[in-house]
């Protein structure tokens, strides 16, 4: 399935694009992240990066379905 991936802040800067589309064979967020690592090898996805499926924070074990948008959330700085 194809999954849209949004990048924000420093991650968008690292990847050079704010959005990617990856083709994923598995069905979890972890599978999407593996595909992102291949598609954008310059991205540094360390432990500080959180993830969202659509508009909710999600763990790598979360299910991802066709049509979902995955977001990579680097450390936030609002306020």
């Amino acid at each position: 399935m194809k999954i849209a991936v949004q990048l924000f802040g420093p991650l968008a800067e690292q990847a050079g694009v704010p959005r990617l589309e990856v083709t994923v064979s598995g069905a979890t967020l972890q599978d999407v992240l593996a595909a992102v690592a291949v598609a954008a090898p310059t991205l540094k996805l360390d432990r500080s990066v959180r993830f969202a499926v659509n508009t909710d924070y999600a763990e790598p074990s979360a299910a991802v379905r066709e049509g979902d948008t995955v977001s990579l959330i680097p450390p936030v700085g609002g306020g």
């Binding site: 924000f8 802040g9 969202a52 508009t55 909710d56 924070y57 450390p75 936030v76 609002g78 306020g79």
Partner: protein
């Protein structure tokens, strides 16, 4: 009551949104752009956000505050785009029957926003720039 906007923020709007006849207190938090960071002169700041999720997080933060304290209403607005020194970046207002709950709810809202809201700050200095978190 919850928004992410490129427009200047309004404390009057926040006050009007939360003031209620059954509440005797309104507490505010206003975050403003500071002119220095770690000894460096800040010239301007740019905020970006995952707008749809940020607004949803604001609503969840307000719901948690309402579950923990007896409060009336919560207003949370964050500005994005290019901000100048002194501009308000965030405005939070919380009304409550009594001041203690208004202060507690307001404090909770800004602390939770800083941890959870998908918003990013890029600081520009006289030379260079940096992404600032926390």
């Amino acid at each position: 009551m919850f928004k992410v906007t490129t427009e200047p923020l309004s404390i009057d709007e926040a006050y009007a949104a939360v003031r209620r006849d059954d509440c005797g207190a309104v507490a505010f938090f206003v975050g403003t752009v500071r002119d220095h960071h770690d000894g460096k002169k800040v010239t301007r700041i740019s905020y970006s956000a995952f707008q749809e999720m940020a607004v949803k997080e604001f609503a969840a933060i307000a719901a948690e505050a309402a579950a923990r304290w007896k409060i009336g209403a919560v207003y949370i607005a964050h500005r994005t785009g290019a901000l100048a020194i002194g501009d308000a970046s965030v405005v939070i207002a919380v009304s409550a029957p009594h001041r203690a709950e208004a202060f507690e709810g307001c404090r909770h809202a800004i602390e939770a926003l800083k941890k959870l809201a998908p918003i990013w700050k890029e600081e520009f200095y006289e030379t260079g720039k940096a992404w600032i978190s926390g």
